[in-house]
Point group: C2
Amino acid sequence: MRVLLVTGNQSKVAEVRDVLKPYGVNVEKADLRKFEVQGEIEEVSMLAARLAAMEALEPVVVDDSGLYVEALKGFPGPYSSYVYSTIGNEGLLSLLSHDDNRAAAFRCAVSYVDPINRVERTFLGEVAGYIRREPGKPGGFGFDPIFSPFGPNGVPLSEMSVEEKNAISHRGRAFRKLGEYLAARQ
Amino acid sequence: MRVLLVTGNQSKVAEVRDVLKPYGVNVEKADLRKFEVQGEIEEVSMLAARLAAMEALEPVVVDDSGLYVEALKGFPGPYSSYVYSTIGNEGLLSLLSHDDNRAAAFRCAVSYVDPINRVERTFLGEVAGYIRREPGKPGGFGFDPIFSPFGPNGVPLSEMSVEEKNAISHRGRAFRKLGEYLAARQ
């Protein structure tokens, strides 16, 4: 089957295509507007998917992600990409400079809307870890260089290969749940 | 004439009522949802006003405000209330702790939609000033204690009376423009 992914980011399309291929799902980039409401990531992804599905009249998928820092009450959360584009990694590190609690998680919500069969589902993925004292090498998206998932070696997300990152990332996890769901329905 | 103000904040209703009374405009609190999109404050206020007007079927007004800090590329901007509720005044001060450029402005967008006469207008108000090194006394909304408008005495917004604040604030200025517009149409 085919689903349309609503995003302006071509490298995300390639990443999601790799994740969903084993489930027999063919991902195409949709040329539709991603409408974004203020709210939790699962509200953002679901409303955007509903509006895109009404336009496309076929199954669509929208994801939304955020970095949640425990010591900052979840900031920057749903507004991570805006916050990254203004204060950046440097700003986030300075907010935590006197804080020993470095706990953080990346969360992803993937919403699937099939307007023909009237199906709506949201799948959540999370990767827990910590905000590093020093950034790793550049790479990946946004805050990836200052985040290391919990694990034996403390590698930042930005230094992982696409395959390594897909295996453990919030986005990889959420999209695999979608893949399992769609494979079971086919 | 009467307009419905879409807000959950009763003290804002009182503030706006005072500002619009001299223009012959009677402000009532609307019991309607304020739908908030991600975007610039004038997009947030206009879309919220359109949706509320479709529900109310009479003239409505919605305002949205933000604090724009020059050294932080406009952060927190349209997400000021979320940012205030997470990192607060302390977080914003720490982001600027090594910065001599303290320039900032509060901006307000007021959108008026009259669904009967098919009128839509947005009015902007701004107050320029600076982020203080130390917070003033608590008071007002959100970041008011750490912002002083340019002027002779450097008083923070949080320490002004409602009348003083209305006279120079971003919100007062935007709503007076609306008042002038409505008075000219009556």
